[in-house]
C-alpha cells in the first residue's frame, strides 16, 4: 500500500506504510501531517488514519467495517448524518458516521413528509376555528407583545391621514387606553363602512396584534380592515357642566362653555402646561393642554382659547386628583359661538352655587339598597349587579397597570378582582394589603374570559378592615 504525504504545502510520495511509520518515528511527520492513501482522494491527518492508529483504535474501526452490508444503506445511499453519498459503504466517507441505522431512515422520511402535510392542515383548521380572546386594555403587559386579541371600547381620538391612506385611533375600555394604527388601510375601511365610518364616541370591537414598546406603550395594528366592527354608534349629547359627576368619567359629550380663566405653569420636569377653566351657567370644569399640543395647533384654533370666548366643543370627561377634567377629543370641531363677560358670569355663578348648596343640603338623597352576598352564590345572571362582600385576600399580584387580588369569602369560595392603579392610589392603606388582610365593600360582578370577577367602581367602595 502506497501513501503520499503533504509537507510544507508540497506533496511527496509514493511511500510505503513502513516508510511513513519511520517518518513519524524520526519526526519528519507528526499527527497533524496530512496523508493520502493511493487510489483515494480523501486526505486525513496521520493521527486519524486507521492504518497508523493503535490496536484499540483499530478495533473500534473494525467494528464499523464488519457490519453486515445487507442492512446498512438506505435506498438512496446517503449518509444520515451529513447527507453525503455513502453508496454501499458502511461508514460515511465524509463525516465517518456509521450508516447502520436502528430506525429505518425511509420511515422517518415518510413520517416527516406525511406529518408535515397533515400537521399543516390541522394547523390551518385550528387557526380557522380560533376566536381571539377579548382582553381588558389594562391587562395588557409586556408578555403580550405580539398577541392576537380582541378589544372593545370607545373611540376617544380619531385621525385620518388621506395622504398616507392611514387611520389612527385611541380606544378606551375603562381599564386603559390603546392606540390603534391602520397603515395603508383607510381606503379599504371606507369601502367597508361607506358613509358610516367609525368616529369619536363609537363603541367598537377590534381584532389585531398587540405591539408594545417601552417608549410608546401599547398599540395595536389593524392589518385586516374587516376586523374593525362598530358595536354601538355614538349619539353625541349636549350636557350642562353642573350635571357632570364621577359616573361620567370616560364619557364623550358636547358642551357649550366660556373660557373663564387661564394660567400658564411649568412642572418640575420643565413641561409647560396651559390650564383653563370652562364655565357654563350650571358649573365649571378644568382643561389642561400641554405646550407641545398647543404649539401644533393652527393660529386660529389657538385664539379660540382666549378668556371670554364662548365655545362649543366635544370633550371626554377625565379625572385628575379627584377633580373632573375636560379632554378635547377633536380640536377641528371647536366652534366659537360668542363672547361673554367673565367677571359677571362668575358673580352670578357664585350666587347660584350658594343657593344650590343650601337646597341640596335640605334634600336627603334616597340611598340605594345593596344586598350582601357571598362568592359561592354568584351566578352568571349576576353579571352587572352590585353586592356587598366581606372577603379575605389570598394573594396580590402586581400587574403593569393595577393589582390583581385573589380573594375568598367565609366559605372559602374564591374570586379575583382587579384594582386599577388609578383607583388603588386613592384607597387608603391599599399599599399595606397583604395575604390574610380582610376587605369589605360594594363590588360589581363582571365576567372576564368566561370567569366571574369582581369590579370596583369607586375608591370609596373598598374598605380595608384588617391589614
Amino acid at each position: 500500500m502506497n501513501w503520499y504525504i503533504s509537507l510544507n504545502s508540497n506533496i511527496e510520495g509514493p511511500y510505503t506504510t513502513e516508510q511513513i511509520k519511520e517518518f513519524y518515528k524520526t519526526g519528519k511527520i507528526n499527527n497533524d501531517t496530512y496523508v493520502l492513501k493511493e487510489g483515494t482522494t480523501d486526505w486525513k491527518s496521520f493521527g486519524m488514519t486507521p492504518e497508523f492508529q493503535t490496536k484499540q483504535q483499530n478495533v473500534n474501526q473494525q467494528k464499523i467495517q464488519n457490519i453486515n452490508p445487507s442492512n446498512v444503506v438506505d435506498e438512496e445511499g446517503l449518509c444520515p448524518t451529513c447527507g453525503y453519498f455513502a453508496g454501499s459503504l458502511l461508514a460515511c466517507p465524509r463525516c465517518g458516521a456509521s450508516v447502520n441505522k436502528k430506525i429505518s431512515l425511509v420511515l422517518v422520511k415518510k413520517i416527516s413528509v406525511i406529518g408535515s402535510i397533515i400537521g399543516i392542515i390541522l394547523l390551518w383548521y385550528a387557526a380557522y376555528l380560533k376566536q381571539p380572546i377579548t382582553v381588558n386594555i389594562g391587562d395588557i403587559d409586556e408578555k403580550m407583545n405580539g398577541a392576537f386579541v380582541r378589544i372593545e371600547g370607545k373611540i376617544i381620538a380619531y385621525e385620518e391621514n388621506k395622504e398616507k391612506n392611514s387611520l389612527r385611533m385611541k380606544i378606551d375600555d375603562g381599564t386603559g387606553i390603546i392606540n390603534i394604527s391602520a397603515f395603508n388601510k383607510l381606503d379599504a375601511l371606507k369601502k367597508i363602512f361607506k358613509d358610516r365610518m367609525p368616529g369619536i364616541g363609537d363603541k367598537v370591537e377590534i381584532v389585531g396584534s398587540i405591539n408594545e414598546t417601552q417608549k410608546f406603550g401599547i398599540s395595536m395594528f389593524l392589518s385586516v380592515p374587516e376586523r374593525l366592527k362598530i358595536i354601538e354608534k355614538f349619539d353625541l349629547k349636549e350636557v350642562e357642566l353642573g350635571k357632570l359627576t364621577r359616573k361620567n368619567v370616560g364619557d364623550i359629550v358636547k358642551i357649550v362653555a366660556v373660557v373663564s380663566s387661564y394660567d400658564k405653569r411649568t412642572t418640575r420636569k420643565g413641561t409647560v402646561l396651559h390650564s383653563y377653566v370652562l364655565r357654563d351657567k350650571t358649573g365649571k370644569i378644568g382643561l389642561t393642554l400641554f405646550d407641545k399640543a398647543i404649539a401644533n395647533l393652527p393660529e386660529e384654533t389657538k385664539s379660540l382659547f382666549n378668556v371670554g370666548n364662548k365655545l362649543e366643543l366635544i370633550i371626554r370627561i377625565g379625572e385628575y386628583r379627584g377633580e373632573l377634567q375636560a379632554e378635547i377629543v377633536d380640536f377641528s370641531k371647536i366652534v366659537k359661538v360668542g363672547e361673554e363677560n367673565v367677571e359677571e358670569m362668575k358673580k352670578e355663578e357664585g350666587k347660584e352655587e350658594e343657593s344650590t348648596e343650601k337646597e341640596e343640603s335640605k334634600k336627603e338623597e334616597p340611598k340605594e339598597e345593596i344586598k350582601e352576598n357571598t362568592v359561592g352564590n354568584l351566578k352568571k345572571s349576576d353579571v352587572g349587579k352590585t353586592y356587598k362582600f366581606k372577603l379575605e385576600v389570598i394573594t396580590l399580584s402586581k400587574k403593569s397597570k393595577g393589582t390583581l387580588l385573589k380573594l375568598k369569602d367565609e366559605n372559602g369560595d374564591e374570586i379575583e378582582m382587579m384594582v386599577w392603579d388609578s383607583l388603588s392610589n386613592r384607597i387608603s392603606n391599599f399599599d399595606k394589603l397583604k395575604s390574610g388582610s380582610q376587605i369589605e365593600g360594594k363590588f360589581e360582578v363582571s365576567e372576564y374570559r368566561n370567569k366571574l370577577q369582581l369590579k370596583i367602581k369607586e375608591a370609596e367602595d373598598l374598605k380595608i378592615i384588617k391589614k
Binding site: E12, D32, C95, K102
Partner: protein
Amino acid sequence: MPLVIILYVLLGTVVAGLLCLIPSLHIYNVAGIVLLIWFKVRDVIPYYVIAPLFMSMIVAYSFLNNIPMTFFAAADESAGASILPSVDMVKNGKGRDASILSGLGSLAGIIILIIFTPFFYFIWTYVTAVISPHLHWLLGIIMVFYIMSEWPKGAGRGKTPWEKFKDSWRNVFAGMVTFTLSAIVGLIVTTKPLTPPELSYQSIMPIFLGFFAFPSIIQTLISDSKIPHKQYKSKYINAGYSDFGVAALPGIIGGLIASYMPAVTAGIGAIFASHMTNHRNLQQASFEKPTQPGTVVKLYTPEIYYQQERVFLIGGGVTKLLYYVGAFLLLFVLTDLTPNGMGRGGLNVLLKPVFSPEKGDYFIMLATIIFSGSISMLALIWFTDITIKLLPKINIKKIYIVIIFVLLLIVYFMGGGLTGIFIAAVTTCIGCIPVFYNCRRSHCMAVLLVPIALNMAGYSDAIARILKLI
C-alpha cells in the same frame, strides 16, 4: 454605576456562556427565560443594566456556542451554515482548531465592529432611507436566489435516465417543498397566532425549536454517528494573518446582509457572501500524481483545501458575530432618521416592550462587546479543552434525550402548553425534510421571509382571505 454594569456584563457572559454549551439550546430561548425571570425581579435589577446584560449574553453565545456546534449539533441554520467544514475537521481530530478558529472569527468580528461601526452609525440611516421602500422585492430576490442556489446533486448516481433525473432533482424539489410548507406555516401563524396571549412574546419559539433543534436531535439519535474521541490539542492554531484577511470580506458581506435584512439569518448571509466572493463548494479535487518518489507537486495540496476551510470558519465566525451582535447593536443607532434605533434581530423583538435605547448607550454597548468578547474568547479555549477531554466519557445520545425533555418543558411552559407542543410537532416534521432529503435547512426561514415580504408588498390581506383566516 459602571461597576454595576460590569457585574451584570460578567453575569450575562457567564450565564449565557454556560447555557449555550447545551447543544440545541438557542440564545433566544435563553434570553426568553432570562426575560421571564426579569419580569419577576424587575424591582431589584436596575433598568440601565438590561441592555448590557442581554448584549453580553448574545456576545457570549456567539463565541461559546461554537463548542456544541462543532462537536455535537448546531442550534439553528444560521449557526450550522457558518461552521460547515468543522465536520471534516472533527473527523480529522481538529475539532479544537475548528472551534477556536470560529471564535477567532468572532473576535475579528468585534474588531470590525469597533473600527467600522462609528462610520456605519452615520451611513446606516441613509442606507435605510434608500433601501426601505425596496425591501419587499429585495426579500423576493433573496427567496428566489435561495431556492435556485439548491444545486442539483447526484446526477451520475442512477442507471436509467429517470433515476439520474430523480437523483439530481430530489434535493431541489425537497428544498422547494420545505420552503413552501414553512411559508404556509408562517402565513397561518402570523395571520391568526394560536399561542395564548399571555405568552405571545415567545410565540415564535416553538416554531424555531421545531424547525431546527428537534430535527438535529432526531438525526443524531437515529444516525448512530460517532464523534471521533481523539482530538488534538496543538499549541498553535494553524492559521495566518492572511487567512483573516481573506475571511474578512465574505464575513463582513454575510454579516451585513444578515444583520440588516429582516428574516435573513447568518446562514443565508454566509451562503450569499460565499457565492459573491467565490468561497464555495469546498470539494476536494484530486491532485496530480507525482511520478518519482519525493517529487514535489504544487497543485492542490490539502493545505490549500484546509486553508479554504479555515477561511470559511473564520468568515463564518465574523458573519455570526455581525449577525447576532451587530444586529442588536443597530438598535442603539439613534439619529434623526432613526430616533428609536434600528430594530433588527430576535433580541430586539424580545426586549422592545421593556427597554428603549437612549443617546450614549451605543458606546456603552461597544464597551460591553469588547469586555464580554474578550472573556468569552478565553472561556471558549478553556471549555473547548474541557470538551475534548470529556468527549470519550460522555454519551451524547443520553444527553440529547435529556435535552429533548428540557426543550419539551420549555415549549410547554413558555410556548403555550399543548398548543405549543402541537406547533413544534408540525414544524419538526417540516424541519426533518431538509435533514433527511439532503437540502438546506435554511429553507425553513420562509416562515418569516414570506409573510414579511408579503406584508411589505401589501398582499398579506389577500393571502389571509385565500386561506379563509379572516
